[in-house]
Amino acid sequence: MFGDYSIGDLGSIFVMQGFAGLILFSVYVLMALGLAIIFGQMGVINMAHGEFMILGAYVTWMTSNLFQAYLPGLFAGYFFLAMILAFVASGALGMLVEWVLIRHLYKRPLDTLLATWGLSLMLQQAYRSVFGAREVGVELPQWMLGSLQVTSSIEVPINGVFVMCLTVLITIGVAYVMYKSRWGRQVRAVVQNRIMAGAVGINTEKVDRYTFGLGCGIAGVAGSAFTMIGSTGPTSGQLYIVDTFLVVVFGGAASLLGTIASAFSISQTQSTLEFFMSGSMAKVLTLLAVVGILMLRPQGLFALKVRK
């Protein structure tokens, strides 16, 4: 397939393809980070993760409509406010859900699967009733459209660069909160042994609620960012849920670094294979590789070392 092309052409294509892989990597990390906290740290199998993302997307859509109607002059910058609002909305809904539903289920992690699946169905129908069954189009400010011309033949999409920067920022933020802050230590203590953590004076209920809220809030930001690259409809969240769990489980549930490593390896495999064969086939081979590796290493790529 390369016979007819000059070396220069091929070079630029490979650069752009490498970049496509990096964008996919950022997308995976961004969608998996929230779940890495909720599933990885708290052990809650949150099937409604995609719906929390879509809440963020709808908040972005509403913000964009508000700006168009009342503040058209500031439209160029609305996206930053939209992401903050998405974080707040999804986080608040997450804390509510934790209070109503999840806190009763910490001792029965498998039941969280069913409960949150039901929750995802309810949220989907709620979106459909409130926003309508049709997809909505989120209008972006002009500067976020199009691509950057790096050389005459290499172009990189601006929204891809935006997602990458956002991912780096949020990852650093989460890593700091989880591993450097006092609150992160409390989270890890509660996760490892809820009773002991309570006994040494940690308010476990509060820690649980805020952690769950943080995970959902990050999902909201991811959903907001994905309005640039994907669709916003009542069931759009379903498009992400499988890949999200794949990344978190493959990386080793309790490890943030594992999530990142897993997102990197899956996205690079996927994107390289996609280039040399068809999209469906690439997906099949990627999944086969993941299944194979999980058979050899059931705990995932990175596992927390604990004394058994």
């Binding site: 092309y5 052409d9 294509i13 752009m16 393809q17 970049f19 496509a20 964008i23 996919l24 997308v27 129908q125 459909r128 309508g132 069954a133 049709r134 997809e135 909505v136 189009g137 989120v138 209008e139 459209l145 199009g146 691509s147 011309q149 172009e155 999409p157 601006i158 929204n159 891809g160 994905f226 640039m228 690259i229 994907g230 669709s231 916003t232 409809g233 009542p234 069931t235 759009s236 379903q238 498009l239 992400y240 996927q270 994107s271 996609e274 280039f275 068809s278 999209g279 469906s280 690439a282 997906k283």
Partner: protein, 401 residues
């Protein structure tokens, strides 16, 4: 006339109403037909993934039924409808079709959207001898006494569009991208045969992505590498939005790079955003912007019933044809009996169709024109080309299988 007048009318001797034939005469198989009413079923997904697409069809069918009733109904009887929800789940579709036919004894069903739901319903309507009016453009390779296909089958939709773009843009090389299921694969197979055998062109790439895929950067790079004259797409659902947004972000300008789609209607553009797809060509039989007297009455009536912001896509219009074609066929047959309707269908013509004029073919598909439109920034299509004559439906195309 108020409802109170109806019982008095039905007590009068029936012979005095030449235009309202006796129920026993027009309904010999025990369908839900009374002296004043006839019941039909509407069977679409109002919930679940497919609600995005099927909502428009439900709206169009209700509008058609309301208009028919306002114009006096069918054989002097008002149409009453029972709506069932297929919930985007194919076994549910079959179950609800059976309920409509067996319990409710509906005279016809307007319904289904995806091929999968139609395939699930088909054995049911054949077993219980019902009549299904199916609105979606689809892959063909099917024909049934019990189904009228009001959308286009694949050759009707695709061939004229390919001919046009080959002639107009001098296109020789094509790149196919589709979602990975039966409709895109069959359509692309037909398109490939046509490109290679008739147009003497070349297909430089054929790619499929799983339904719901949201990352298209790799295939976009392949397009940049192969530089096709035309990108030919049948990506569906949420993937569509991702595909066009990423195409735009990758700097592919649809004003310079011709793209022909057979899966994007005005409904989809709502989600994609006009600015992301402006310049693309779509090939189907109806656009909301069509300039003819029928359509100028249809669009305002639709908006009056369902809101100013609603858009009308190809399938929505085809769904609107269903109740009308059924009414015309019943009147031609002079009976609600399914066997008589199936036999009377060929040759039935609907001159009030928003797309212009349609006629039912012996194979229960419609003769219709194929049109090419160019997407504009406001989410509407501008009509660029239409076939001079009606295109014959050919669900089992020779040389394309």
């Amino acid at each position: 006339m108020g409802m109170a007048a109806l019982p008095a009318i039905s007590m009068l001797p029936r012979q005095s109403f030449a235009d309202v034939p006796a129920t026993a005469a027009v309904n010999t198989t025990g369908l839900a037909v009374t002296d004043t009413e006839v019941t039909v079923g509407i069977l679409h997904s109002a919930t679940g993934t497919m609600a995005i697409s099927e909502t428009g069809s439900i709206e169009a069918e209700k509008l058609a039924i309301e208009q028919i009733n306002a114009a006096g109904g069918v054989l002097g009887r008002k149409i009453k409808f029972i709506q069932e929800d297929g919930a985007s789940d194919w076994p549910t579709f079959a179950e609800k079709a059976k309920k409509l036919l067996v319990n409710d004894k509906v005279a016809a069903i307007m319904g289904c959207w995806t091929s999968a739901s139609r395939k699930a319903v088909l054995p049911v309507v054949e077993q219980y001898n019902g009549m299904l009016y199916y609105p979606t453009f689809y892959e063909g390779l099917e024909q049934s006494k019990n189904v009228i296909y009001t959308g286009q089958e694949a050759t009707q939709q695709i061939l004229a569009g390919l001919n046009w773009i080959a002639k107009e843009k001098g296109a020789k090389t094509f790149f196919f991208i589709g979602s990975d299921y039966i409709w895109p694969r069959t359509s692309n197979k037909i398109a490939r045969k046509h490109v290679e055998n008739v147009l003497k062109g070349k297909v430089v790439g054929e790619e499929y992505y799983p339904l719901g895929n949201t990352q298209f950067n790799s295939v976009i790079n392949k397009i940049k590498l192969t530089k096709p004259d035309v990108i030919f797409t049948d990506v569906v659902g949420g993937s569509n939005v991702a595909f066009y947004k990423q195409l735009k972000a990758a700097g592919i300008d649809l004003a310079k790079q011709p793209l022909l789609t057979i899966s994007v209607t005005e409904d989809e553009i709502d989600g994609i955003g006009g600015e992301n797809i402006a310049g693309a060509y779509a090939c189907m039989k109806y656009f909301q912007s069509l300039d003819n007297a029928n359509n100028k009455a249809f669009v305002p009536a639709f908006k009056k019933m369902w809101g100013e912001k609603t858009v009308i896509g190809d399938v929505t219009q085809a769904a609107y044809l269903g109740p009308w074609l059924w009414k015309l066929t019943v009147e031609k047959a002079g009976s609600f009996d399914v066997d008589k309707i199936a036999a009377a269908s060929p040759g039935v013509e609907f001159k009030g169709a928003p797309e212009g004029y349609v006629r039912i073919h012996e194979n229960h598909h419609l003769w219709s024109k194929t049109r090419v439109g160019r997407a504009k920034l406001d989410g509407q299509f501008e009509l660029i080309y239409e076939t001079a004559d009606l295109v014959e439906p050919d669900p089992f195309p020779k040389g394309y299988q």
